[in-house]
């Protein structure tokens, strides 16, 4: 019974748009902000975790992102979507953190190498990769230079559109497309190598 009532209340709150809730918080209903936190906490925490790795640091960043958003509500004009604004603040905090903690430029494959896509005959079943191949892609992503890694994380993990990524990173759409193209080219080369390594007869591969 209580569960049903709670569900009803949640449904009722869901009917309000982010912008309507923002207006109510600005009018003094601070507790309404909790609804925005609950709506976006997984996305914001997930984004921070993807960027910085450590869950503790990710939580600190996610908390600070919400606190900054709350402090900045008065200045929020509504010309951008609330979610995009929140992601931008989160991304900027992650970028600051990475500048302080991560060594720059960690490309495992150079862009020149990425240009030399070899003709691979490895038999990849359409849409099916094994665990090791998936892991090799994720590891390659970790090694990408920050500006390439950012666009890939926002596209694949955060499921943002190209246009939203451009807004979050505050760069032109064309830049997003170029970075995505280069990032994915590097990842493709890495995956191709992983597949070649596992191909029957390949040196060091899983030939039996």
């Amino acid at each position: 019974m209580r569960q049903e009532r709670r569900e009803e209340m949640r449904q009722e709150r869901r009917e309000h748009s982010d912008e309507q809730i923002v207006d109510r918080v600005r009018a003094g209903e601070t507790r309404q902000f909790a609804e925005l936190v609950q709506r976006y906490q997984d996305m914001v925490f997930g984004m921070a975790k993807r960027f910085v790795g450590s869950p503790t640091d990710a939580e600190d960043i996610a908390q600070e992102a919400f606190l900054r958003v709350h402090r900045g509500l008065e200045g929020f004009k509504g010309d951008a979507r609330f979610s995009t604004w929140l992601y931008r603040i989160t991304f900027n905090l992650c970028a600051d953190w990475l500048r302080r903690h991560r060594r720059p430029g960690r490309l495992s494959v150079s862009l020149d190498e990425a240009g030399e896509v070899e003709d691979s005959r490895a038999d990849v079943e359409r849409g099916i990769l094994d665990e090791e191949q998936r892991r090799s892609v994720c590891l390659a992503l970790e090694d990408l230079d920050e500006k390439y890694r950012s666009v890939v994380i926002l596209l694949y993990y955060q499921k943002l559109s190209y246009e939203q990524i451009a807004e979050v990173l505050d760069v032109p759409l064309k830049t997003v497309e170029t970075r995505l193209y280069r990032a994915r080219r590097i990842l493709r080369v890495t995956l191709e190598r992983s597949l070649q390594g596992n191909a029957p007869g390949a040196p060091g591969g899983a030939a039996s």
Partner: protein
């Protein structure tokens, strides 16, 4: 369509962002080109590998910790930017401690304020009449006092003579003070 074009568009194609005509051209080319077909499969593999990663959830109690910080901000007004950065570095436990310290400080402030208010009311009610009344109303007060006394005496004398008249007694001027 040429291989170089397919190579350039393959990820956008896999993302489903190409117009139908271009997408059809890529598919047609890939059906007769092993290398481009392989590129498309690799691009799909990348997409699959990254999409397969499970969505992350915020830790338990996260929203409560955020709201503790939000209420503290709302109570204390806007902190300076340096202070905000320091709070960010303090972490979740730091926020909770700061919030409880803020609540205690609020209680102390309220107690202090009530004490001051009580003392103020006492001072006003006890001291002000003693000092201010004679100073402000000294001469004027005496005039008001005399006038009101003679007015009351006049009323009483009128009432007395009316009663005596009604009873048929001579008006002897019973009230003469």
């Amino acid at each position: 369509m040429r291989c170089a074009q397919v190579e350039r568009l393959v990820d956008v194609f896999v993302d489903g962002r190409l117009a139908g005509q271009q997408a059809a051209a890529i598919e047609e080319h890939a059906s007769g080109c092993v290398r481009c077909a392989e590129s498309i499969r690799l691009a799909r593999g990348i997409r699959e590998a990254l999409h397969a990663d499970p969505a992350l959830k915020a830790p338990r109690g996260f929203s409560d910790r955020v709201m503790a910080g939000v209420y503290r901000q709302a109570l204390q007004g806007l902190p300076r930017p340096e202070a905000a950065v320091a709070q960010g570095a303090r972490g979740p436990r730091g926020h909770a401690e700061a919030a409880s310290r803020g609540a205690a400080a609020k209680v102390y402030r309220r107690l202090g304020l009530s004490f001051l208010l009580t003392a103020g009311v006492l001072a006003v009610s006890l001291l002000v009449p003693r000092i201010a009344y004679p100073t402000l109303l000294g001469r004027q007060g005496a005039v008001i006092d005399r006038e009101s006394r003679s007015a009351v005496r006049g009323l009483l004398m009128e009432a007395d003579s009316a009663v005596r008249g009604a009873l048929g007694e001579p008006n002897t001027g019973g009230i003469d003070r």
